[in-house]
Amino acid sequence: MQSQHLLSLAIWLPIVFGVLVLFVGSDKNPAPARWFALIGSIISLLVTIPLITGFNDGTAAMQFVEQSNWIERFNISYHLGIDGISLWLIVLTALTTVIVVISAWEVITVRVTQYLAAFLVLSGLMVGVFSSLDGMLFYVFFEATLIPMYIIIGVWGGPNRVYAAFKFFLYTLAGSLLMLVALLYLYTQSHTFDLAAWYKLPLGFVPQVLMFIGFFLAFAVKVPMWPVHTWLPDAHVEAPTGGSVVLAAIMLKLGAYGFLRFSLPIVPDASHFLAPVVIILSLIAVIYIGFVALVQSDMKKLVAYSSIAHMGFVTLGFFIFNQIGTEGALVQMISHGFVSGAMFLCIGVLYDRMHTRDIAKYGGVVNTMPKFAAFSMLFAMANCGLPGTSGFVGEFMVILGAVQFNFWIGFLAAFTLVLGAAYTLWMYKRVIFGAVANGHVAELLDIGKREFLMLACLAVLVLFMGIYPKPFTDAMHESVTSLLSHVAQSKLPSAQAGVSAVPTATVQE
């Protein structure tokens, strides 16, 4: 295939495989479906490798661009392209899908084909979100992801799955519908849905603020930010392991990514004006939700709250508008994808054996599952940001950026290191260490080859990114610089320039 269609391949291959899975296997004989889905997800991952090797670090321009008319009547085009911001998120998506397929291997036994199909389709849709350069195309992919996830939670979820599925769907739909209005407003102003044109579109202050709110609701729910985060713990707890992994590793990033693609460059003045609000909400997420995580008795819920706290770091990094903060937030997004995915997989491993996620039911797992204990130690350390793991890099960069911006914000943000260590390690201690708590724990079998493989993949990545993050940040650098220079320019019509909230000379090298 020619390189100019790589992105289309990365989107449509998993979707096509997902649909075909429905026909190759059946519930009575799911083996062919599993192999087929595994092959499909690996091919989809391989397709992203030329994206990395062919990616040019030296430019902020969009690469691998594809453009053709889609709905001419509204000037909507099928316009794809990636820059340093989206490159790693696409790779992360493809990789996570492979791991989810592996993790489902023996665990999912009901309606296997539909389960695998839903994840493959979801994977393609999420790659679509990260590579859309057209506002409406983005929205279509963004919304379409709700359908497979709703079904995943509702069909293969826990006892309270229906409530969680509805809450997930309606919360996110509520946010994104107002974003649709904002998109339509931009269309009436510019008669196009092309993002590049929107970046240049001058907009008055009041429309900017209204549109910021529209975008903010959509993305803040997705991230999720305090106080619209309540759907996430429910969704995580009820979702099957694979669903939790995809939710934490990728779906939350859709919202954060939206901030970078929409809010910041399209309505920069409103972004600056409302940045204090976002920063405060992010700090609340980091500190308050950190405390909430501390008191959880359910492992999944604990990690879910820890995700909210970590995503608070991401939004904080975006809205302090400096290079290191934004890059740190992006690194944090990737790292959190690996780490939280791995944490949920670990919980899944335990749950498959014990059928409970209650921390109190565990204790002394290290005695029966030493390999597992080693892996989960690494991921727990990465979750609290130990140097040498990927979790450290992002958090450290964001804290540095925050200190540059305002010492006290940096000071408050740094609490995450204490809190993260507290809730993660305390959970680790209660579950893994100590004497064998009960007969069920004594009967546990250590992880098998399949589980070893998927955890080892993630462990390597976590360590690699922690020790040598340069390939990741190098690819981002130019794109972030260009984004920040966009954000620094006021888009108000000249008559309104007096009320501009953009401080002068914010871009620093």
Binding site: N69, W70, I71, E72, R73, F74, R111, Q114, M136, Y139, V140, F141, E143, A144, L146, I147, Y150, I151, G154, V155, R161, V162, A165, F166, F169, L170, L173, A174, L177, L178, L180, V181, L184, Y185, Y187, T188
Partner: protein, 491 residues
């Protein structure tokens, strides 16, 4: 009139001839020849649908019978889908009526007469023809609903529909007489001309417009003229519900468009304000009240009300600041919405009939429970319909809402756009609940589905049409827009 090219009338004539042939056949052969009657109805409407579709590419407008009847691209487009909807309804309903002793000649004849009425409604170019088309359609539909004589609820529904429908016809006729009093003509073109030159008495005109808008709102089922919709949808046998809720809604839209745009466009400022209220109320009521419904047909009735609200959004966004610059876009988007909604309606009622069987009406939403276990493919198609109604991309319901909302936004009615999206969030809840029942719950009974192969195949085609039109909506959108452009807004 001499030298009239009658080609444009041929499909109408075909359907008319088919009614007569079917009638004669059924009278003389009775039950033995019933299959032939059904065949004539189905085949003639299919041929006509294709024929209309082919004619819709002809950008010219033809007038017949002293300007009483008009055939333009818009009419052909609407007729193509109305007849297609009729044909699909017959396929979906076949088994349903067979096992209920409703497989009778009058079902087909009344259905075809109502179809003829719809064609006249779409093509009328004179207040009188428009009114006659409406009556032909309505009277056939009243009797269709009453066909199940021994069934009290059906009879009650027919009675309600008849009484309220007659009232609405009265409204319309009263409005028309006002118009005639003010303008002195019933011809749409002359009315337009007289109003735009300002040689009329305005108060009487406005009075007439109010009554005509009320009639249109009644036929479309917009709040506060919606009272009949839930009762009729629920009470009528499902095959008849589909004949009422499918094509006639699209025909009513086209009928309203003829009145309001072809005849009364110079008064747009006045009727647009009325439509704003009707649309807002329909959106609010349809989307919220549907939540508490336990009967799937009643739920779909409220869904219909909400969707009519969306069509009205397109209809009221045409004239901005007294200029009709974006009118073809706005009305085109409403037509697109109407067509895609018709396709979705066919599917949703199709599934209700597919899961019904002899002595069992599957009209409680609980009857959809566990459909995924009983028949995964049908469940997937139903999920497509529901997500489409909820307006989730990439299904066609989203493209339709997008086009209508963008017209509303262009008209500067931001508040109405926001209202529409917020109410559709409430609506999403009850569509999602259907998906939940099908996928998350266990089946209540595992009786194999009693359906015809053709109905199942049609449902699958229908579902894929919704999906494909959602992914590639551009062509149909352009067709709708051009049809409006060439018919009413020639440059």
């Amino acid at each position: 009139m001499q030298n009239v090219n009658l080609n444009a009338l041929l499909p109408d004539a075909l359907l008319m001839a088919a009614v007569i042939v079917a009638w004669l056949n059924d009278t003389f052969t009775g039950d033995a020849g019933r299959k032939l009657t059904a065949g004539i109805a189905l085949v003639s409407s299919l041929i006509a649908a294709v024929w209309y579709g082919a004619l819709a590419t002809d950008p010219h407008t033809y007038y017949f019978f002293s300007n009483m009847y008009v055939v333009d691209p818009f009419a052909n487009l609407m007729k193509a889908f109305v007849t297609l909807g009729f044909a699909a309804s017959l396929v979906y309903g076949r088994r349903y009526i067979e096992v209920r002793d409703l497989f009778r000649g009058d079902f087909y004849l009344l259905g075809m007469f109502s179809l003829l009425g719809q064609l006249v409604m779409i093509s009328g170019n004179n207040f009188l023809t428009l009114y006659l088309g409406l009556e032909l359609m309505s009277l056939s539909l009243y009797s269709l609903i009453a066909l199940r004589k021994t069934h009290a609820i059906s009879t009650e529904a027919a009675m309600k529909y008849y009484v309220l429908g007659a009232l609405a016809s009265g409204f319309t006729l009263y409005g028309i007489s006002m118009m005639y009093g003010a303008v002195g003509t019933l011809d749409l073109g002359e009315v337009f001309h007289a109003i735009s030159t300002g040689s009329t008495y305005n108060k009487v005109l406005l009075f007439g417009v109010i009554f005509i808008v009320a009639g249109i709102a009644f036929k479309m089922g917009a709040v506060p003229f919606h009272m009949w919709v839930p009762d009729v949808y629920q009470g009528a046998p499902t095959a008849m519900t589909l004949l009422v809720g499918g094509g006639p809604k699209l025909a009513a839209f086209a009928w309203g468009l003829r009145f309001l745009v072809v005849g009364l466009l110079p008064l747009a400022v006045d009727w647009q304000q009325m439509l704003v209220i009707l649309a807002a109320l329909s959106l609010i009521l349809g989307n919220t009240v549907g939540i508490v419904q336990k009967n799937v047909k009643r739920m779909l009735a409220y869904s219909a009300i909400a969707n009519m609200g969306f069509i009205l959004l397109g209809l009221l966004s045409g004239v901005i600041d007294g200029r009709a610059l974006g009118a073809a876009n706005a009305y085109g988007s409403a037509a697109f919405y109407g067509i895609t909604y018709l396709l979705t309606t066919l599917g949703t009622f199709g599934i209700v009939m597919l899961i019904s069987r002899r002595d069992f009406e599957a009209d409680s939403i609980d009857d959809l429970k566990g459909l995924n276990k009983r028949h995964p493919l049908l469940a997937a198609m139903t999920a497509i319909f529901m997500f489409s109604l909820a307006g989730i991309p990439p299904l066609v319901g989203f493209s339709a809402k997008l086009s209508v909302l963008s017209a509303t936004m262009d008209a500067g009615l931001t508040w109405l756009t926001v209202l529409a999206v917020i109410t559709s969030l409430f609506g999403a809840f009850y569509y999602l609940r259907i998906v939940k029942l099908m996928y998350f719950d266990e089946p209540l009974d595992s009786t194999p589905l009693d359906t015809t192969l053709s109905a199942q195949a049609l449902l699958i085609v229908n579902g894929f049409a919704i999906l494909l039109l959602g992914i590639f909506p551009g062509a149909l959108m352009t067709v709708c827009q051009h049809a409006l452009q060439f018919s009413f807004f020639k440059i």
